[in-house]
Amino acid sequence: MNTTMKEGFDLAMMKGLKKWRLFSLLAALTIFLSGCGEEYLSTLTPAGQVGRDQFNLLLLASAIMTFVVIVVVIIYVLALVKFRRKKVGENVIPKQVEGSHTLEVIWTVIPILLLIVLAVPTVIYTYKHADVAAMDHVDADGNKTAVTVNVTAKLYWWEFEYPDLGVVTAQELVVPTGEKVYFNLKAADVKHSFWIPAAGGKMDTNVENVNQFYLEFDKESAGLKDGVFYGKCAELCGPSHALMDFKVKTLNRDDFNAWVEAAKTTEAVADGELATQGEEIFNTSCIACHATSAAGTAGGVGPNLATFGDRNRVAGFMDHTEEDLKNWISDPQKYKPGNLMPQPKQLNNGEEFSEEQLDALAEYLMGLSIEK
């Protein structure tokens, strides 16, 4: 091996190593990365242990990879600066070097060591995040100790069933903070993927089997911009894949218990004349698919509407206003192409809903609440 080359190379390595400080880089990365994105949606502001583990893995991987990039760039820049033809001379024929065993060993062994540093936590977390054994633990009375949610993904909405609590809801997932929440995931029609970026990585909802995993939520969502975390469908599932959002409301354990109690006991009531008219329309046109009581089990044709008035969005993504609600009911295909909700004419004896009917329906639906 050419000695000048070796010296230059060593020099480059030394310079690179001197600049290298793992911790300062990590700290810089953390600050840089967490400046990105919204708290209710970003993977860079983890809101629970699972997300935090994955974020830490991201930091570790980024640090290692940044190191690699820096080393490459240093050698690259030095080579480019030192060995341009202009500098070397037009007619110089460089020495035809075959290679170097020492160097080959160095750049085989060092990457392997770096990868082992990454591989160990990877394997540990892979097992940790797949451990759902505690899902079936019961207390002395035979009740499940952990909250389990059966998630069913449908075109294009989400059904959340709490099998041990006898409650079912849709579009807005309500979970307690400070404990592991377990999920059974399944798709009813085509494959979807269940993702709450702030809480942790996603898991697919397959059509032929149930997937299981867990997430944790540290803090109550009330303080967030919309009072909820955002959830997304992460697998292409048809035209309205982009609109298949859901929201996650996190409550402390006491509030959660109260919410469950309310969900089980609250009856849908129409409050006022307009709402009563709305209820009548609902009972002829809508009730075949939409339930208005949260007590029950999964399997609804359309989303359960018992908590509609408490929600953050209409149809998962539109603003929660009477205006948007009426828009939605009067032309679902326009707003969410390919969804399975019938157009008004199919529901209302071949006619569009009149403005009065829409007002009444909106009044009724907005009044459906278990929190008020």
């Binding site: 080359m5 994105g37 970003s42 583990d53 060995f83 995040h129």
Partner: protein, 620 residues
């Protein structure tokens, strides 16, 4: 047959290309057809970025957007990147090993036509009721549910094009094993030949699973099969496995030839032999081998269980080691050399940091628990564009400039070439770097729109602006090609002056029989060796001048392909139109009939006689 420089009419030229079995002409056809599909795929990309430039945009509708992304991915992978690389393999590899032609010239032609007609079939969907809309991965539950014929066009079109690729793979393998010039041992083969070899081996073993997967999809959608219908006991995960057992090696089928192209460029423009040649060869083979062991890292979130995920995670990380070896060997090739920054070299220099960035994000996604976050987000979109655009497309653009004089005896404008590079390169990083962060900020991929105020607005706009830069770069390239063709200045052989391998030793324009006498290879970089020794003749030859045996042109490959194309429509409309079965039978009858003709009619080719060869001046 002896005179090659005759002027021919348009009809005669067209007939010549329809029937040609010459690897150099087939290479040109691959390049033109692949380039055309590259432009189509690029237009689709621009539509995607226009739609996503601002939140709640309604430039294209939800359903149409899914068709566009599906066709963008499918077109770029199957109809642009691979065929263009096939073009360069055809143009360069036989010359690099000093062969007369490829092993099966007839099949070479057949492979090209299958690719072209498969691509046409796929793109006809735009005009016949809608393009496929389930993503280029076409996951089974969605692709079964998709209405219309879009997915049928996808499955049948890819089946036809895939058959062409498979044939091409076998052809290159046999060519490299059997037809190397005397002295061209395996460990003297140029890196581009080596990577062609390994990529072809990957094609051989990766395409059959895709064939089977597509076959199941066709059977399920058109012929009453139940492979993916879970209510009948089917299982959609089978599709995912088959697709990725193909799909992951496919990535290496694309990137390995790109590595080969860059290896050639680094050596030529550093005036230095490849540093660590044998470990480069070893790394290439190892990457090809490991490429088959890691497909499930595309499926970490499917629910395969922690053990499978952990194994595939570690295997995935292992691939980084040979890839890193390659990067360092390229750097050390430059080190101590004499670097001339031509347009191809500029691309090679741009490739190193871009590909390293794409590689390291790949390792990050190999860490399974981290991938739970990154999977199907914009992070993955950024990652694979970094490896495919930053690796494969940069290699293709570099090779266009590098091999243009070899293929057309003309030199593309260096000045315009550098403009292309800077627009494309800056645009590329502008478009895709920011997408890593979009993914980390929770943006899923394949969304046709997004609501405002989720923190994604600005980054998406930047990304779209970058795409416009890339488009400008490509337009400059097209302009460059037109200007160069019009100017039509012959440049002769070895236009880069530091050519090292056999393809630069051959006279220009390259005679249709390639080397008049088969050259003798006396070491790695044989042309460099001869030049250093001051050989005036160009090369040392392994044989005296003698008759050359050449294959006849044939129209049969074209007819066979047309038969399959017709049969495709028969299958597509099965159960819907009465004429479907007759058409299916007719198509297959044409294909197998012409195959029988080929088999029964003896075709011994012809000889170019020694006397005729002596009268020619070797094309100079």
């Amino acid at each position: 047959m002896s005179s090659i420089a005759q002027k021919k009419g348009f009809g005669a030229t067209l007939w010549d290309y329809l029937t040609t079995v010459d690897h150099k002409k087939i290479a040109v056809m691959y390049l033109i057809a692949g380039g055309l599909f590259f432009v189509i795929g690029g237009i689709e990309a621009m539509l995607i970025r226009i739609q996503l430039a601002k939140p709640d945009n309604d430039f294209v509708s939800a359903g149409l957007f899914n068709e566009i992304i599906t066709m963008h991915g499918t077109t770029m992978i199957f109809l642009a990147a691979m065929p263009i690389l096939f073009g360069f393999m055809n143009a360069v590899m036989p010359l690099q090993i000093g062969a007369r032609d490829v092993a099966f010239p007839f099949l070479n032609s057949l492979g090209f036509w299958l690719f072209l007609f498969g691509g046409l079939f796929l793109n006809l969907s735009w005009f016949m009721g809608g393009a496929p809309d389930a993503g280029w991965t076409s996951y089974a539950s969605l692709s079964l549910a998709s209405p219309g014929h879009g997915i049928d066009f996808y499955a049948i079109g890819l089946q036809i094009a895939g058959a062409g690729t498979y044939i091409g793979g076998i052809n290159f393998l046999v060519t490299i094993i059997n037809m190397r010039a005397p002295g061209m041992t395996y460990m003297r083969m140029p890196l581009f030949t080596w990577t062609t070899f390994v990529a072809s081996a990957l094609i051989l073993f990766a395409f059959p699973p895709l064939t089977i997967g597509l076959f199941f999809l066709i059977l399920d959608r058109m012929f009453g099969g139940n492979f993916f219908d879970h209510t009948m006991g089917g299982n959609t995960i089978i599709w995912e496995h088959l697709f990725w057992i193909f799909g992951h090696p496919e990535v290496y089928i694309l990137i390995l030839p790109a590595f080969g192209i860059f290896s050639e460029i680094f050596t030529i423009f550093s005036r230095k032999r490849l540093f660590g040649y044998s470990s480069m060869v070893f790394a290439t083979v190892l990457i090809g081998f490991l490429g088959f062991m890691v497909w499930a890292h595309h499926m970490f979130t499917v629910g395969l269980g922690p053990t499978a995920n952990a194994i595939f995670a570690v295997a995935t990380m292992a691939i980084a080691v040979p890839t890193g070896m390659k990067i360092f060997n390229w750097l050390l090739t430059m080190w101590g050399g004499s670097i001339k920054v031509t347009t191809p070299m500029l691309y090679a220099l741009g490739f190193i940091p871009s590909f390293v960035a794409g590689g390291v994000t790949g390792v990050m996604q190999g860490a399974a628990p981290l991938d739970y976050q990154l999977h199907d987000s914009y992070f993955i979109v950024a990652h694979f564009h970094y490896v495919i655009v930053g690796g494969v497309v940069l290699a293709i653009l570099a090779a266009v400039h590098l091999y243009w004089p070899l293929m057309f005896n003309q030199m593309l404008s260096e000045k315009l070439g550098k403009w292309t590079f800077w627009f494309f390169f800056i645009g590329f990083h502008l478009t895709f770097f920011i997408q890593h962060f979009l993914g980390l900020m929770g943006m899923p991929r394949r969304v046709f729109t997004f609501r405002a105020d989720q923190g994604w607005d600005l980054f998406n706009l930047i990304s779209s602006v970058g795409a416009a830069f890339m488009a400008i770069g490509v337009i400059i390239l097209v302009y460059n090609i037109i200007v160069t063709a019009v100017r039509n200045e012959p440049v002769g052989n070895d236009p880069w002056e530091d050519g090292r391998t056999l393809e630069w030793a051959i006279p220009q324009p390259v005679p249709f029989y390639n080397f008049r006498q088969t050259p003798l290879v006396r070491g790695l970089d044989p042309f460099w060796i001869e030049k250093q020794e001051g050989n005036k003749e160009g090369m040392t030859y392994a044989e005296p001048l003698s008759d050359i045996h050449m294959p006849n042109n044939s129209f049969i490959p074209f007819v066979m392909t047309v038969g399959l194309f017709i049969a495709g429509f028969g299958a597509l409309y099965h159960g819907e139109k009465e004429w479907s079965i007759p058409v299916l039978v007719l198509g297959f009858a044409i294909t197998f009939g012409s195959m029988a003709v080929r088999s029964l009619k003896d075709d011994h080719g012809f000889h170019i006689h020694k006397e005729d060869l002596m009268n020619e001046k070797g094309g100079k």
